[in-house]
C-alpha cells in the first residue's frame, strides 16, 4: 500500500518547504495590522521544525527521522536553513535540533482553570527568519525543489515519498510552475509519488478554503493552477484532515486558499503527518 512506509533513521522522511519571500510578504495579514505575512509564516515554520525535533528527540539525542529543507524565494533564491542550493539543502533534524539560530524567550497565555489566563514563559527556538523583498520566482523555487527531491529519492529509494509544501501570497513572477510541479509529482520512491501541496495566504477577510476536491468549484485561473499543481492527500493525511473537522471529499487535494494564520499552522501540521510509529495523543 503506498504512503505507508514507516519513518526510521535508515528511511527518513523528506520535508521541503518553499516559502515566498517577495516584497508583498512584508505586508500585514488582512485584518491583522500587527503582524506581517512573512513574520507569521516564519513563526509557523519554526513551530513546525520545533515539533519535528520534539517528535524525534530521545534521551540519547535527536534521531534523524526527518531531512528538512527550506527554499526561500523572493529577491533571491536561498537555502533557508543553511546549505547550498540546490543539492545541499536538506538538513538532518538532529543538526537543526542541536543548532537553532537562537533560543528566544516568549510568552504564552494559558487558561488558569478559573476563567482567566496565566502567562507562561517558553523557549522558542528559531531557525528561520522572515524576509520580504523582490518578486516571486516560484518556477525557479520549484525547479530547485525538484533537484533536491531527486537527490533524496536516489539516496532513499524505499523511504516515504518526499513532501513539498509551497506557501505563497501571490502569483509567480517568472512563468507557470505547473509543469515543474507535475515533474516533481512524477518522481517517487517505492512507497509512492512525491507530494506537492500549496497554500495561498489570505487576500480577503473571508474564511480559508481547505483541501478542495473539485476544480470546477474554483472561480479564478490562479486557484485552478494551484489546484492542478497539488497532489491528492494520501489516506493518512486525508483521515487527519477529517479528524481535524474538515469536510474533505474523496480525492481532496493538499491545497488551501485564503489562508489565515491558523490555516497556515493546520496546513503544515496535516501536510507533514507521517508516522514514525505509535505516537502520543
Amino acid at each position: 500500500m503506498p504512503y505507508s512506509a514507516q519513518i526510521s533513521r535508515t528511511n527518513p522522511a523528506c520535508i521541503l518547504l518553499l516559502i515566498d519571500q517577495s516584497s508583498s510578504m512584508g505586508e500585514p495579514f488582512v485584518g491583522m495590522a500587527d503582524q506581517t505575512k512573512a513574520g507569521m509564516v516564519a513563526d509557523a515554520v519554526n513551530r513546525l521544525l520545533q515539533n519535528l525535533v520534539l517528535r524525534s528527540a530521545k534521551a540519547d539525542g535527536v534521531r534523524d527521522y526527518f531531512l528538512v529543507g527550506v527554499i526561500g524565494y523572493g529577491g533571491t533564491l536561498k537555502a533557508g536553513l543553511g546549505g547550498e542550493l540546490p543539492y545541499d539543502i536538506l538538513m538532518p533534524i538532529s543538526k537543526l535540533g542541536n543548532h537553532p539560530l537562537r533560543l528566544e524567550t516568549r510568552k504564552k497565555f494559558l487558561p488558569d482553570g478559573a476563567g482567566g489566563v496565566v502567562e507562561q514563559t517558553i523557549k522558542f527556538p528559531v531557525w528561520f527568519d522572515p524576509e520580504a523583498s523582490g518578486k516571486t520566482p516560484m518556477c525557479e523555487a520549484f525547479a530547485a525543489a525538484g533537484l533536491a527531491v531527486k537527490g533524496f529519492i536516489d539516496a532513499h529509494p524505499a523511504a516515504y515519498p518526499p513532501i513539498v509544501l509551497n506557501l505563497t501570497d501571490g502569483m509567480p513572477s517568472d512563468g507557470n510552475p505547473q509543469q515543474t510541479a507535475r515533474r516533481i509529482r512524477g518522481m517517487g520512491t517505492k512507497d509512492g509519488n512525491a507530494l506537492v501541496f500549496n497554500l495561498l495566504l489570505s487576500a480577503t477577510p473571508g474564511a480559508a478554503i481547505h483541501f478542495v476536491a473539485d476544480e470546477a468549484k474554483l472561480a479564478d485561473d490562479y486557484s485552478k493552477l494551484l489546484f492542478r499543481m497539488s497532489s491528492e492527500l494520501p489516506p493518512r493525511m486525508w483521515e487527519a484532515a477529517r479528524a481535524e473537522g474538515f469536510a474533505v471529499a474523496p480525492g481532496a487535494r493538499g491545497v488551501v486558499y485564503n489562508a489565515d494564520p491558523a490555516a497556515v499552522v493546520r496546513f503544515l501540521d496535516i501536510g507533514t503527518r507521517v508516522s514514525i510509529s505509535t505516537a502520543p495523543r
Binding site: 514507516q6 526510521s8 520534539l54 528527540a57 523557549k123 505516537a279 502520543p280 495523543r281
Partner: protein, 251 residues
Amino acid sequence: MPPAPLPWVSASVPKAGHRAAENEDACAANPGRMRYAVADGATEGWQSGGWATHLATAYARRPPTPPDFPDWLADVRRTWTPPPVAGAAAWYAAEKQEQGSFATLIGVEFRASEHRLGVSWKAVAVGDSCLFVVRAEAFEVAFPVTSAAAFGTRPPLVPSAADRDCPAPEWLAGWASPGDLFLLASDAVAKYLLDRRPPPGRDPVVAAARDSVASGRAERLLDSLRSLSDEFKDDASVLAVLVPVPPEPPR
C-alpha cells in the same frame, strides 16, 4: 498451600535496524502471584522504554482494580523517576520531559480456585497491546482489540505526567481451562495475529509460544519474532502463560 506457578515465558525484539537498548516494549511477571503484563512505550515519547518497564512492573507488583485505578495510577506516577539525561540538557530535553512519557498496558492476573480444573483471570488494558486466549486452535478471547483493521497510529496511552488525563481502561474477566494458552502481545504482534488466515493455533508465532512455554526456554519464540521483524516494523513482544493440564489422579 499456594498454587503451583503457571509456566510462562516472554520474548521481545526491537524493530528492524534498531539496537536492543532501543526496544521500548516491556514485559513483567510476578509468577508467585500469577500476574503478567506487557507495556509498549510510544516511539515519539520521552523515556518511553523506561516508563513502559515501570508501568508493567507496577502492574506485576500490584494490579489495579476498576474502582482504584486512579489511585493506582497516581501511585505509579509518583514512583516514576525518569533516568537522568547525560550531558548538558538541550532545549528539547526540558520540553520533552515536561510532555512526559506514554505507553500502552495489558495486564492479566490469575486466581487459583478450589476447582481442580482451570483458574479464573481478570485483565486490564489501555491502548492496543492485547490479550489472546488460545483454546484448541482458535482465539477464545481477543482483548481489547478484536480486528486487525482497528489498529491505528494513535492508540490510547497511559501518560506519566500527573496533569494529563489517562484514557479509561478496559476490563475483562473470564475462566481459563486446562490447556489454554494466554498471550500478551504488543500491538505489532497483536495486529499480525488478528490478520492471519490460518487458524491461530497453527500460526508460527502461536506455535513457537506454546513450544517455548512448554519447554521453559524463550529461544524459539524469540527466533519466531526475529524472523518477522521486517513485517512488524515495530518493537515486538509476547508474554505467554500456559494453564497446565493437571495429571490424572491416581486410580
